[in-house]
C-alpha cells in the first residue's frame, strides 16, 4: 500500500495534436514545483498524472499545497495505491477511513466505484454495495446517503486500485510556458500583481517591469516589489524583474510638461519602455492592472491615449472588475498583505493635483514634445537592472 498524489487536468485535454506537448510542460512544471520536497516518480495514464514519492516521510500536505498552485491542474487527491484484490480494497479502505474520520467529523458517505479492469470479478455496483456494507459494519456511526453524502469513497480498479476520498480543487488554467511571454507593468499596488497572475494563469511567462523613482521613493518600495514578484514566482516558477530607473524621466516631465498632463505622459513613457523591454526579451504583449475608470489615468480617454503609444497588444485582465473583486483575488493568491504595505511606488511630488481625466491625443503629443524624452528613455533602458526571481 502506497500513498500517491493524483493530479487531474482539464482544459488541455481539449487540445488536439498539441496535447502531448502541453502535458509534457505540465509534468515539467509539476516536477519543478515539488522538487524541494524530495524525489518523486511522475507517471501519466489515461489523462491523469500520478506523483509517487520515492522518499520516506514525504510531506504530502506541503506537496498538495504546492500542486494546487500549478497552473493547468484542476484538482488533486491524496490517493492510496493498492493491489487490485477485493480483500485488500476492503482492508485498506478501513485504514484510510480511520485516518479521515480522525480529522473530519463526517456522518454520511457513499462509495463510487469505477472498474477500468474488466477482468476484475465484481462490477462497479457490486463493489459499491459490498464495500459500503463492510464500512457500515466497521463504522456503526456512519450512514449511507447516496444523494448528498458528506464524503465519497472513490474506488478505481485498474492494473492497480486507487482509493481516495478527498478532491482538492486547484488553480486551473494552462501550464506556464505553453503560451509565450508577456511584459507586466508591476507597481507596488494591489492591481498589477493580480493582473500578472491572471495572465500567467493562461500559461504565459511573465517578465515584470517596475519603474523605480529612487530617491523620490524609498528603497523599501523596491523591496516590496521584489517581495510581490516572489509571490508571483510561486505560481510562475521564474520571473525576471526589470527595475527601470525612472527618476530622471519623471523630473524631466515634471519640469517641462503641463502639470495636468504629468500622469498621462508618464504612463505613456512607461508603456514605451515596457514595450522596448518586451521586444528585447521576446515578449509579444503588455499586461497592466488597469480597470476602466478606477483613477484619472484609467478613464477610457486616458486608456486610449496611453494605449496609442505602443504597437503590441495590451492585456488588461482587470478592465471590467471592481476594486473589491480584485482584492478578493489578491487575498486568494497571497499578494494583498504585501501590496498594502505603506511604501509608495510614486512620490506625491509627481502626482498632479487635478489630473486631466479627458486627455486628447493631439494635445498630449504636443505637451510631450516639450520634454526631451528619447535620450532619457534610452538611458533608463541602459541602466535597467534585471533581478531573476526563482521559486525556491
Amino acid at each position: 500500500m502506497k500513498k500517491v498524489i493524483l493530479v487531474r487536468y482539464g482544459e488541455i485535454l481539449l487540445k488536439g495534436l498539441n496535447r502531448p506537448s502541453f502535458e509534457r510542460k505540465l509534468i515539467e512544471n509539476i516536477r519543478r514545483s515539488i522538487k524541494p520536497l524530495g524525489s518523486v516518480k511522475i507517471s501519466k495514464s489515461q489523462a491523469r498524472i500520478y506523483v509517487e514519492p520515492q522518499v520516506e516521510d514525504y510531506d504530502f500536505d506541503e506537496a498538495i499545497d504546492l500542486l494546487t498552485k500549478v497552473f493547468g491542474i484542476v484538482s488533486v487527491s491524496p490517493v492510496w495505491k493498492i493491489e487490485t484484490d477485493y480483500e485488500v480494497i476492503k482492508e485498506k479502505s478501513v485504514i484510510m477511513l480511520k485516518d479521515l474520520l480522525n480529522r473530519k467529523d463526517y456522518k454520511t458517505f457513499k462509495v463510487e466505484a469505477k472498474r477500468g479492469d474488466k477482468s476484475f470479478p465484481m462490477n462497479s455496483p457490486q463493489i459499491c454495495k459490498e464495500l459500503g456494507g463492510h464500512i457500515l459494519e466497521t463504522f456503526p456511526e456512519l450512514s449511507v446517503d447516496v444523494k448528498k453524502p458528506e464524503f465519497i469513497i472513490y474506488v478505481e480498479v485498474r492494473e492497480f486500485t486507487y482509493i481516495y476520498s478527498e478532491i482538492i480543487p486547484a488553480v486551473c488554467g494552462m501550464p506556464i510556458g505553453t503560451n509565450g511571454k508577456a511584459a507586466l507593468l508591476l507597481s507596488g499596488g494591489i492591481d498589477s500583481p493580480v493582473a500578472g497572475w491572471m495572465i500567467a494563469k493562461r500559461g504565459v511567462e511573465i517578465e515584470a517591469v517596475h519603474f523605480y523613482s529612487y530617491p523620490y521613493t524609498s528603497e523599501r518600495a523596491k523591496e516590496k516589489v521584489i517581495d510581490l514578484a516572489k509571490i508571483l514566482a510561486k505560481y510562475c516558477n521564474k520571473i525576471n524583474l526589470h527595475i527601470v530607473p525612472f527618476t530622471d524621466v519623471q523630473l524631466e516631465i515634471n519640469e517641462k510638461c503641463p502639470q495636468d498632463d504629468l500622469t498621462i505622459i508618464m504612463r505613456r513613457v512607461m508603456m514605451t519602455i515596457t514595450e522596448r523591454i518586451a521586444e528585447k526579451v521576446g515578449a509579444l504583449a503588455l499586461v497592466t492592472g488597469e480597470s476602466v475608470g478606477q483613477v484619472a489615468s484609467q478613464t477610457i480617454h486616458s486608456l486610449y491615449v496611453t494605449n496609442s503609444v505602443v504597437k503590441m497588444p495590451v492585456f488588461r485582465p482587470l478592465i471590467g472588475m471592481d476594486k473589491n473583486e480584485v482584492i478578493e483575488i489578491a487575498r486568494k493568491i497571497g499578494t494583498f498583505e504585501t501590496s498594502i504595505l505603506p511604501y509608495e511606488d510614486c512620490c506625491t511630488v509627481f502626482v498632479a493635483k487635478h489630473p486631466n481625466t479627458r486627455p486628447k491625443i493631439e494635445k498630449i503629443l504636443l505637451s510631450e514634445q516639450e520634454a526631451n524624452l528619447e535620450e532619457l528613455i534610452d538611458k533608463a533602458l541602459e541602466n535597467t537592472e534585471v533581478i531573476v526571481i526563482e521559486n525556491k
Binding site: 530617491p215 521613493t217 509608495e344 506625491t348
Partner: protein
C-alpha cells in the same frame, strides 16, 4: 566609500565600543541564568546588580527603585497600566499632552475604551504644555499625569518643576509619570527632587544596546506587574534577565553620565553652529522648528518647497542619515502628530527634517551636511520648472 554621517541619534545611537566588547564578553563567559542557585547564576546576578547601581546613582535614587524592562516602550506601558491597575481607587482621570510618544499615546487611547477619561493637553507653537489648561484639567479624580520630558521630534523640554508644583497645589495624590527616554543621559535628571513618581528611560538612546530600558518607581508607590511569570525584577517584570543588555546599559549609563556636561556642551556647539549655517545659507527657506532652549541634541528644521522624504533619500545617497516629520504618501495623512500639535502648516510639515546629534558628531560633519544641502535643495524644489 564615504564615511557615514549619522544624525539620527534620537532614533537610536551607535553603541560605544566598550559596551559592545563588554556585551560580547558577557555572552561568551557570563551566560548563567541569574535565578540559578549555582556560582554561574550568582556571577550573572552580580552584573545586574552593578548595572542597577550605576543607573540608580546617575538618577540619585535608591537602587531598589530601578526596574529593568525591554526598553522605553515597555517602561511606559508598565508605568501607566501597572500603576492604574494597582490603584483603582485613585480616580478615573488621566492627563497627558498631545505630543507624547506613541508608547504613551496609544496606551491612553486604549484606556479610554476601558472607561478612563483622558485629557490631552494642548501645547503652544514651541511645544510647551499650556499650564493654564493643565491647571483646569487637574481635579480630585486625577490619578495620573504623563509628561514627555524632552519631545523626541523637536526637542522641547517641558517645565516639569512648574507642572509638579501646579499638580501639588490641586491634588497631592495624583502621580506624575515622566517619559525621559530622550532626556536621560542628555540633561541632568533627579526624579526624586523633581517630584516625579514614575520615570521611563532607555539604553539604546545613550549608546547602549537595544532591547533594554528601565522604569524608576518611587519607593512605596504601588505598581502591578504586566508580565507575569518567574517573578524576576522583584516581581515587577518576569522573564529571564537580559544580562548582557542590562550590563551594557549600566556601562553606557556610566560612560554617558560621567561626561554629561562635556557631551552636552559639544552638542550645544554643534547645534548652534548648524543653526547659524542654515540661516546663513538658506535664510527663511530653512525654518528652525525646534524652540530656543530645546534639547541640544535635537534640531528640527523645515525646508521650504521640498518633501522631506525625498531629501532624506538624497541625503542617504551621500551617507547622511536623518529623520522626517512625514512620509511621501499620497494615500494617508502621515504627518507627525507632534508637528500638527504645534499648529504647523501642512506644507511646513512636509518639509520637516530632524537632525539629532550625539557625542560622535563633529562641526566638520555639519559643514559636509550644509554643502550637501546646498547641492540637493535646489534640485528637489517642487516649485522648480513645471507649467502650473
Amino acid at each position: 566609500m564615504k564615511k557615514d554621517i549619522y544624525l539620527d541619534n534620537s532614533a537610536t545611537t551607535k553603541p560605544y565600543d566598550k559596551v559592545i566588547e563588554s556585551i560580547s564578553y558577557i555572552n561568551k563567559n557570563v551566560y548563567g541564568n541569574p535565578s540559578s542557585l549555582h556560582a554561574k547564576g550568582l556571577e550573572a546576578e552580580k552584573y545586574i546588580k552593578e548595572a542597577r547601581s550605576s543607573i540608580s546613582k546617575s538618577l540619585a535614587v535608591d537602587s531598589k527603585e530601578i526596574y529593568f524592562t525591554s526598553g522605553g516602550t515597555e517602561a511606559n506601558n508598565l508605568a501607566i497600566t501597572g500603576f492604574l491597575e494597582a490603584n483603582p481607587r485613585n480616580g478615573k482621570k488621566i492627563i497627558t499632552t498631545k505630543i507624547e510618544h506613541p508608547s504613551v499615546l496609544e496606551v491612553y487611547k486604549h484606556l479610554i475604551k476601558k472607561g478612563y477619561i483622558v485629557d490631552f493637553i494642548d501645547v503652544d507653537d514651541k511645544g510647551i504644555i499650556n499650564l493654564e489648561s493643565l491647571k483646569k484639567a487637574i481635579n480630585d479624580d486625577t490619578a495620573l499625569i504623563s509628561i514627555i520630558y524632552i519631545n523626541n521630534e523637536i526637542g522641547t523640554i517641558q517645565p516639569i518643576t512648574d507642572i509638579v508644583k501646579i499638580k501639588n497645589s490641586i491634588n497631592r495624590e495624583a502621580v506624575i509619570h515622566m517619559d525621559a527616554v530622550q532626556a536621560y543621559g542628555k540633561i541632568k535628571i533627579a526624579p526624586r527632587k523633581l517630584g516625579v513618581d514614575l520615570m521611563s528611560i532607555s539604553s539604546h538612546k545613550i549608546h547602549g544596546p537595544k532591547g533594554v530600558g528601565a522604569l524608576y518607581i518611587r519607593k512605596d508607590l504601588k505598581v502591578n506587574s504586566v508580565l507575569i511569570g518567574g517573578g524576576q525584577e522583584f516581581n515587577m517584570r518576569s522573564g529571564t534577565e537580559n544580562v548582557s543588555g542590562i550590563s551594557g546599559f549600566g556601562l553606557a549609563a556610566d560612560m554617558t553620565c560621567n561626561k554629561l556636561e562635556e557631551n552636552c556642551l559639544r552638542c550645544v556647539k554643534i547645534k548652534e553652529y548648524f543653526k547659524n549655517r542654515l540661516k546663513e545659507e538658506f535664510h527663511e527657506d530653512a525654518l528652525i522648528v525646534s524652540p530656543k532652549d530645546s534639547s541640544p541634541y535635537i534640531l528640527n528644521v523645515s525646508f521650504s518647497n521640498i518633501r522631506s522624504e525625498v531629501l532624506l533619500h538624497y541625503l542617504e545617497i551621500e551617507r547622511i542619515f536623518v529623520s522626517t516629520g512625514s512620509a511621501c504618501s499620497s494615500k494617508k495623512n502621515t504627518h507627525s502628530h507632534v508637528l500638527q500639535a504645534l499648529g504647523m502648516m501642512p506644507e511646513r510639515i512636509d518639509g520637516a527634517i530632524r537632525f539629532s546629534f550625539s557625542v560622535f558628531n563633529s562641526i566638520e560633519e555639519i559643514d559636509v551636511v550644509i554643502n550637501t544641502l546646498k547641492e540637493i535643495l535646489p534640485k528637489i524644489n517642487i516649485k522648480r520648472g513645471g507649467k502650473r
